[in-house]
């Protein structure tokens, strides 16, 4: 069971949130190839370790919260608003953005 720190509401029970997937996916340009859009819509990595992801606070403020979570230990390292870039643990780097597929 997680306790997630919503930037607006404060720390709340996981049951108030809905998991909404990978927060590092970037929408391709409108004129990108069909293959690029296929990857954007359907293909996700399944990392063992730190993952930057969306959790929708559907039972509270209804905002989308960005969460850096360890998929192995379930430890939550950081949470933030949708616009925030959250660093991964042990780095000062921003979370890795998936490179856009070649078009």
């Amino acid at each position: 069971m997680h306790r997630i720190d919503c930037p607006w509401c404060g720390t709340r029970d996981e049951a108030e949130f809905q998991y909404q997937g990978d927060a590092t996916v970037v929408r391709p340009d409108p004129d990108a190839s069909e293959e690029a859009f296929f990857r954007y819509v359907y293909l996700r990595e399944n990392p063992k370790g730190w993952h930057t992801e969306w959790w929708h606070h559907v039972g509270g403020c209804r905002q989308w919260v960005k969460v850096v979570r360890n998929t192995l230990t379930h430890e939550i390292f950081a949470t933030g608003r949708a616009q925030e870039d959250l660093p991964l643990p042990g780095t000062r780097a921003k979370p890795r953005r998936r490179t856009r597929p070649k078009q």
Binding site: C9, A15, Q63
Partner: protein, 196 residues
């Protein structure tokens, strides 16, 4: 021709007075004749809107004004509750004030307000509320949106009695009421002739 009738989801729940002889330490009542609107600030106009209505946007804190109570729901969003009956023009008045800086959505018929009070009120809510309502953490004016018994609730601590107001969607009000009254039974609350 069929006449449309306004039916309150908990219209058959009779008022319960504190002097009803109930020894459970729990009083449950439905608050009728209140008006509710939800308001949204236009992008970047949040501060202006708050100033205009003389309210604050601090998460978890209700703002009391002379004519309504404001509950912050999210950045730039509030629920306003007035003691004026629906149809009294509360929403229209707010809409006039917010012209150009925000939006108003009428909610008077979409939510039901249940007032829970008495010495065991906090213990009753603890059976379904994930938030810490202990007096060292939450006091008069505390408010939050949180699910209770699978139903989304806007919770407001009215006083340190304690008294709580629970705002639930009308469509879920009967189900929520059943859960609340049933759970209160564990404290000795008896519905008697009250509700169903």
């Amino acid at each position: 021709m069929t006449e449309f009738q306004t039916i309150h989801p908990l219209g058959d729940v009779p008022p319960q007075s504190v002097e009803s002889g109930d020894t459970s330490g729990i009083t449950l009542n439905v608050r009728h004749e209140i008006s509710m609107v939800q308001i949204f600030a236009r992008n970047g106009r949040e501060m202006e809107l708050a100033k205009k209505l003389n309210i604050e946007g601090v998460p978890g804190r209700a703002s009391e004004t002379r004519s309504f109570t404001a509950f912050p729901l999210a950045p730039g969003q509030w629920m306003l509750v007035s003691k004026n009956a629906p149809g009294s023009g509360f929403g229209t008045g707010i809409a006039k004030k917010l012209k150009g800086i925000g939006y108003v959505s009428e909610q008077s018929d979409s939510r039901v307000c249940i007032r829970v009070s008495g010495s065991q009120a906090r213990e009753l809510l603890a059976r379904g509320c994930r938030l810490d309502l202990h007096q060292s953490v939450a006091s008069k004016g505390f408010c939050a949106q949180t699910p209770m018994a699978q139903v989304g609730v806007l919770l407001h601590q009215v006083n340190d009695g304690p008294t709580y107001d629970l705002y639930v969607y009308s469509g879920f009000a009967r189900s929520f009421w059943e859960w609340l009254a049933h759970t209160a039974g564990q404290f000795g609350y008896s519905r008697g002739g009250r509700g169903h």
